[in-house]
Symmetry: D2
Subunit: 364 residues, 4 copies
């Protein structure tokens, strides 16, 4: 496989470049009988869409998704679902200046060396525009998980540069342009971003995502652990440089007596584990975090080389997010949904007639 | 797949429980012509082996690996390689007390709920003993990478609880019991661990791993990025709760002008990226970190439930590492080697006749 | 996986129903640098297309394929290729009568039982219309094989009901409506088909496909043998009930002294093997045959049941081929091309630096 | 993947050469809770074992299989099952004469060209000895299918050279040395084989395999059809050159009115389809046939080349079956069992809550 697919039972395969004709994906393995229309995907596509806030790129496209197959009389049939989004606002001319040079911190150099060629228009396949299809596919997974198992998946921006969310109020997330759960800091974020824009610079971010009501038993031991597959899915999002489950890197300085989540008939006493024990979901909420680097597409000049290897200077023009982390919130939700549904289907295959004498625990 | 395999072109599949008859693995996809003997694997197995230091578990087994197939007249033939390690020091009696209760922070509860049963002896399949086969398979990958491409993979303990390595001296790593690259702090580590043992507690750790001379172009865009597959491989190691590539979570508070690695004909000016751009290796050293939780197997009593769901208290007996992070160093190296060789073979498949006009950059 | 993908390195995933909005596919793993336009696929699509001969279904659609991604400035970029064909002549009303009953010999009953629902319009996903995308993807594989390795793939109808091709003249194949290589029997075929149409019946057929200049060494031992993967690909074509490699079922009554293909420095003396020894290509031409059942869509009434399980009688109306085998010729070529390119890429991954002292043999 | 694995949910991966230390396999995906001991596999291993009849090779090995993992307290745990058979009767000296030359009709030449090397002892990895592990794994699949679904899988020799079974009496199959279901012809077989041995020649055969009580709905549309996967599994058995489902190649000269299996509330009227419609099991018995070539290991001299490419003559010594088809009967059963269980688990994943209004049909 050349890497454009994810999942084993709920398989999502995508295609499309930033400035090509269209983006698309095939979902193979969606169970039959799920009610599905384009509207189910459009909400999350709109949340990811550029141009919805003054803090994200100015590119404006409707990102209208179309279902081409796999749905009949309003319900999935069990056969493969084809999805399509036409590119409508491509403005290729913006990118002609980077045809012959590599933007530092971008995939320009590595694509050129790997393939001997590259679609330089807007980053081509390496553009975050590709994630639109992940969001569409993730919305299908989300709907199945919600309607069949009550699983809720919610993401938020937990940190932007130096500004950390100190309270996590899920009701606030959709109330501001930053998916930020701490209303007391939204004004601070706003002025920070204004300042950044003046500097022509960009900033990193931390995004968190939580899934509740996840059934116990998802995840396969050894290599395809649930947490390993979540790490794969989140690290595979553009600009991500780190992934944590539960307490993440804080465990380095924790003691065993502090970290282990005690259990009683009333439930788990804590959730340091982030919902995964031995690679398998425990019924605690799944909690994951990811670190996104600042975009390298800034208009501060930088030293680089041409395609022929000569020294030059680059200034990235075009329309770019000063903080790519913000729009990554719905992408993180989508990827978590895809991984959870994939493992749920895998688990069904092996273990559908399992009966354990142990009652399922919740959180205390 | 039920998760006991990793890789697509260099595929490693393992079996075996902590207290079963034997551990084994099959390597499918090792290219023909590699000189290989048991001795090539034994060195890393000995580094991972319990009982080599007073700071790791007292279980003592020779962990002698045997090649059962795939090697003829001292060289690999291209067919599948079967490897076996017999379990010799099993002392199952140590674990009889946990048959009917779940150790908090362990996979006992999740295995029971997933499968309706579990091999409770030493954690069964969830035991870190399983990683011996990863180390053996990783040694094969390491040897191929080294002999055919000059790739060097080296791991070290970068932090243990509050003690952080401040200098990274690769020559020191094998000179102490901790794989610690900062000689000035080894005595401090030693006394910290002695203290911990008195408290009957355990501690987390951070392990780092570096690969140099990695060819440009490894990694498939979109889902199977090199960094995503590294994250999958490292997060799949027992006790790991976080993975970073390059600057990792530090990017959250970096600006684009600071993070992007500038390029010139003399090479990359820095390596904030950790060797991966757009999911593809750049020729910079690959640098990854992982956080390991403190083992939950401590003899401080803890609240838990029985298999029937009743309240009880657990005290883990048996032989356990107070810091599982230490022995994870060779495991991290093995997993990185497996991922790199797998991607190297994948890349060959697609892109073997690629000719880019751009010269390959090193570090300045 | 839910089965809508084929291949491991050259992976084709399809979607689309007979009467849905569109058919599409994603090719993941096409090497970069291949010149590719829609015209490269259109020739084979036209050969498969209904309505080109009076002996195939009267449904008329242009089957115009569109490249949506993966090609830049006329060449493949190494990223995933999205292909689309819009359905334009759907006439769903023809099929309303089969909504509530199952056509014997069709997938109606099995889809209903598997999924609890089915898109009954023209067979939905089970329609041979789906094979249009295989032909498009196969044309890409064919072009790569031809341009990079000189591999030629040619199919023909070797038998239709009682009429057997006795001479195989490749120049004749495209000269008649039947892809028939024996010009002396075309008139006989023509009158046979006219007679059949009067009887409102259908007939089976045998299709053969040959690949020449196939490199030695393709195919992986044990399960993913080249012949096993060819069998999988051909048996996966609608209506196929048997697959042969080389002498096929004739070997049942052959002796070893007769069957084995002797070798000399001048080459192989014969090709009973059909180009595969031990699951690996030998350099002899690859020769495969497949048997296609007569379509069950005939207007002779037949006993069946309703969706509720009651007795009823069915008469299939609509536009159907009296011999589906004819149009299967380009499909067989496409599937063989996909398998060969997939194995060629797989082989590169493992064995690219292999040097055998043995010269490569041709046929004498 | 390098081809040593089969299946997606019930995955069998094998290793081992004819004259290596041991053969082994890993079963990944066997559901938990199945009672399993070595004895469950030994019966089929004994049926496949050489030396049980005077008509098969004289090599004598106990072929004792050992379970190394995945079974605890007599039941499968859901984790990977390691199986091992030590090679005990290797007599490598028999094969030293073929070290430098290629046996026509064998994999010697293709392995050499693919890998640049080969384990020439007894064919190494290409030996049918490898199938012992398939039989062991297949016995596990058979047991699960039988105990959980009542599926029965039975194979027989339907033709040996010119001698065709005319009656299929399942009770006769285990009563003779040939797995032959027509008692009236056993004497004829016996004298035919004696004559063949005098001629130092070998003969082809046809093996059939039937599965009854197969649930409706197994098989994924398009590429991973049940019949396509059966074809893959059977064509992947050593020496197989053709595979048929149901009426197989006889369909070429059938009319639609004759071939289609009519349905009524009482069941299917016939089984021309061989139990598969549109790639999905119909509930009719699954019926498959395969053609096995005569072994090329005969002591009649034959023209060939040396490893250096020079002309020479080969006479195969050693212990060989004059009809490899006979021992292929338990192998065919094993492969069908593996495919059916794999699809049964796959089907569970997607479609476990499906409710069709249509009652399940049997055969009339």
């Amino acid at each position: 496989m050349s890497g454009n697919s994810i999942g084993q039972n709920f398989v999502v395969t995508t295609f499309g470049e930033s400035h090509g004709v269209a983006l698309g994906c095939i979902i193979d393995g969606c169970p039959p009988g799920l009610e599905l229309t384009e509207a189910d995907m459009q909400h999350d596509l709109d949340r990811r869409r550029p141009g919805t806030s003054r803090h994200t790129t100015a590119r404006r496209e409707p990102d209208e998704v179309q279902i081409l197959s796999g749905v009949f009389e309003g319900k999935t049939t069990g056969t493969s679902i084809g999805l399509l989004i036409h590119n409508t606002d491509q403005r290729s001319q913006d990118y002609s200046n980077i045809k012959d040079q590599f933007r530092p911190g971008h995939a320009d150099y590595t694509y050129q060396q790997k393939y001997g060629t590259r679609d330089y228009r807007g980053g081509g396949r390496s553009s975050a525009r590709e994630t639109a299809m992940r969001v569409a596919a993730g919305a299908v997974a989300k709907k199945y998980l919600k309607s069949h198992f009550g699983v809720e998946i919610r993401g938020y921006l937990s940190q932007l540069g130096p500004i950390v969310a100190e309270t996590i109020d899920f009701d606030q997330i959709e109330q501001n342009d930053f998916f930020f759960p701490d209303a007391s800091k939204v004004e601070q974020l706003d002025s920070y971003m204004r300042e950044l824009r003046k500097e022509h610079d960009s900033i990193g971010a931390k995004v968190s995502v939580v899934a509740t009501n996840v059934p116990v038993g998802l995840g396969e031991p050894v290599f395809d652990r649930l947490d390993a597959d979540i790490a794969h899915a989140l690290m595979g999002i553009n600009a991500v440089k780190g992934v944590e489950i539960g307490d993440g890197f804080a465990v380095v300085n924790q003691k065993g007596s502090e970290h282990r989540d005690l259990m009683s008939p009333a439930g788990f006493a804590s959730n340091h584990a982030g919902g995964v024990l031995g690679g398998i979901s425990s019924g605690q909420p799944i909690l994951a975090h990811m670190a996104l680097k600042p975009t390298s597409s800034i208009s501060i000049p930088g030293e680089t080389i041409t395609v022929q290897g000569d020294s030059t200077e680059v200034v990235t023009k075009g329309r770019h997010d000063p903080c790519v982390g913000i729009r990554a919130v719905p992408i993180a939700e989508a990827m978590l949904a895809i991984v959870l549904l994939d493992h749920l289907l895998r688990n069904r295959a092996q273990n559908f007639d399992v009966n354990s004498p142990t009652p399922v625990l919740g959180m205390r």
